[in-house]
């Protein structure tokens, strides 16, 4: 049975201008040990959804099952005891400025009531886990964003929770630091067999570390599946937008396409879409060997996910018309998605 199950979960807020339905009839299952990503634009209801999982918000209707507990019905002491089993990482870190790195990491252990000696021992392990050795006595104001989030993560896993909830954990970080923090999350997921639910508005976060993804729009989950499936075969309009934004080369747009056609007038210009397994096969070098053509890579972007590569290459094929047509047929046979941008 899945570790986390949401059944017909609904959350409404009584706002000044009437009721806001932040989460509308959400059904979801997250397996133990999984990194499950929820992606959506701002205001989609992601934060509200993830906060239902540790009772920072209480569901208006439906069941929020984690293990054998219905979080939507926990109160007082039981809820506080449950929360020790669900760590949370925040976009803006939310560290106590009045405490050092080590003291921040000690906080959840103090709250849980461990004896001092045990707390100390555990804090040392946690500092090593997140790679902050030597910074134990620094205050948050003396740390970089990435270091602050490492403290946030150490603190969130201090009580050895069953699930880790990340609310836009990397959205306040630069790309380089984002990657480091994401790697740390993968590392922790493997080392501690920790189930991670993360929400983000950035598809690259999903691509880089998630096993499964749910796409959220206007309070609903509109699409869900493994990251591979969703990238290969996005169904909903919003999903397609997210996937595309990840697969197109950064500099890609209409003008750049015209530019390519003007400047590489010879032969054919085609766009190849690689997905999953085919991305690993050397189809381009095979085509060059097999047919009497040259292939010139003009633009491209290949991305790694937890289960294979995805990407787009824009190439120019030069050669006689017959050979070119055969090469294009060859790509089709190999299952590479393609689009002819220009035909001589």
């Amino acid at each position: 049975m899945s570790l986390i199950r949401l059944n017909h979960v609904k959350k409404s807020f009584a706002g000044k201008e009437g009721q806001v339905d932040a989460v509308v009839d959400v059904n979801l299952a997250v397996e133990k040990g999984e990194i499950f990503g929820i992606v959506g634009y701002s205001g989609a209801g992601k934060s509200t959804l993830i906060r239902l999982l540790n009772g920072l918000e209480t569901a208006t209707a439906g069941e929020v099952l984690v293990g054998d507990q219905n979080v939507a019905q926990l109160k007082g002491k039981e809820l506080r005891a449950y929360r020790k089993n669900a760590g949370m990482v925040f976009q803006h870190f939310n560290l106590l400025w009045s405490r050092t790195v080590e003291e921040n990491i000690l906080l959840p252990l103090e709250i849980a009531g461990y004896p001092a000696a045990e707390r100390q021992k555990r804090a040392i392990e946690l500092i090593q886990l997140v790679g902050l050795e030597g910074r134990e006595n620094a205050y948050p104001s003396q740390l970089s964003g990435g270091q602050k989030q490492r403290v946030g993560i150490a603190r969130a896993v201090a009580n050895q929770p069953a699930i880790l909830l990340c609310d836009e954990a990397t959205s306040a970080l630069d790309p380089q630091t984002t990657d480091e923090v994401l790697e740390l999350l993968v590392d922790i997921n493997r080392k501690l067999q920790l189930t991670i639910v993360l929400i983000t508005h950035e598809m690259h976060v999903i691509r880089k570390i998630c096993h499964k993804v749910a796409v959220m729009e206007k309070g609903r989950i509109v699409e869900t599946g493994t990251v591979g499936e969703v990238f290969r075969n996005p169904q909903e309009e919003v999903t397609k937008r997210f996937v595309h934004q990840e697969l197109l080369p950064e500099e890609y747009n209409e003008t750049s396409q015209e530019y390519l056609i003007e400047n590489y007038a010879q032969g054919d210009i085609i766009q190849l879409h690689f997905q999953g397994e085919q991305a690993k096969k050397p189809v381009i070098s095979q085509a060059i060997k097999k047919y009497d053509i040259d292939i010139n890579v003009l633009q491209g972007k290949l991305q790694q996910t937890q289960d294979g590569s995805f990407g787009t290459l824009v190439v120019q094929i030069v050669g006689n018309q017959n050979e070119r047509a055969k090469a294009i047929e060859f790509f089709k046979e190999k299952g590479v998605g393609m689009e002819v941008l220009h035909h001589e």
Binding site: R80, Y82, R83, A86, I111, R155, N159
Partner: protein, 228 residues
């Protein structure tokens, strides 16, 4: 007979070291005892106001309004009037309304609401995200106060206490005028009423020195506690 300014303000024969010492002690006793009481009770009242203002319940909103009105009354009544108004209460509590200790109930009553308001503001300025983080760790209300609210608002609590204490020193001087003694009493009764302005001047200088000292102590405590 015309006296020169020097003769008026620097007539050393007027100064009595023993009287100054006693006045200084009285002022410090009034201030320190009141400060301790205000720190504790003001913190409690501030905490109450903070929680009442955060709650969405109707009863909490009503209580907040009531407590606010009462504390505004005590805060806004001119101190010199308050001290006279509560003479019966002071008598009941201490058996007298004269002397340094007798000024304490009035000092405390006017300073508690003042400090409580500063405490409430200090707590409201604690980052909501940090409070949420502690809640997500399963902190109880008690732990939240002790481990998050108080330490994270410490600089504001200390600077509020400094301001309150300095205000109270001003009030002890007023209390002195109607029989509480201290440097204020010395300045007014021994100095002004007996036309010995050198006494008034030097009592004032002493009071100012105490104010500066407290400001300096307060500022450096705030600085030391702030790691932001």
């Amino acid at each position: 007979m015309n006296k020169s300014f020097t003769e008026i303000y620097f007539d050393w024969s007027q100064l009595d070291a023993a009287a100054f010492k006693q006045a200084f002690i009285d002022t410090m006793v009034m201030t320190i005892i009141s400060m301790v009481l205000v720190a504790i009770l003001g913190l409690g009242l501030g905490l109450l106001l903070y929680y009442l203002s955060k709650s969405n319940r109707k009863s909490a909103k009503l209580s907040y309004t009531l407590v606010s009105i009462v504390s505004n009354v005590f805060r806004s009544t001119p101190f010199i009037i308050l001290i006279v108004l509560i003479i019966p209460l002071t008598r009941l509590l201490l058996g007298t309304f004269l002397g340094a200790t007798a000024a304490i109930p009035a000092l405390v009553l006017s300073a508690i609401p003042f400090y409580a308001r500063l405490v409430e503001i200090a707590f409201r300025e604690v980052d909501q995200g940090v409070i949420e983080a502690a809640e997500s760790m399963g902190a109880s209300q008690f732990q939240l106060i002790g481990k998050v609210l108080l330490p994270e608002s410490k600089p504001a609590l200390l600077s509020g206490l400094t301001v309150t204490t300095i205000t109270m020193i001003g009030f002890t001087a007023m209390a002195g005028a109607i029989g509480a003694g201290g440097l204020g009493g010395l300045a007014y009764q021994d100095g002004f009423q007996r036309n010995r302005l050198t006494v008034t001047l030097f009592a004032t200088v002493f009071l100012l020195l105490i104010v500066f000292l407290i400001q300096w102590l307060g500022d450096s405590a705030v600085k030391r506690s702030d790691k932001r």
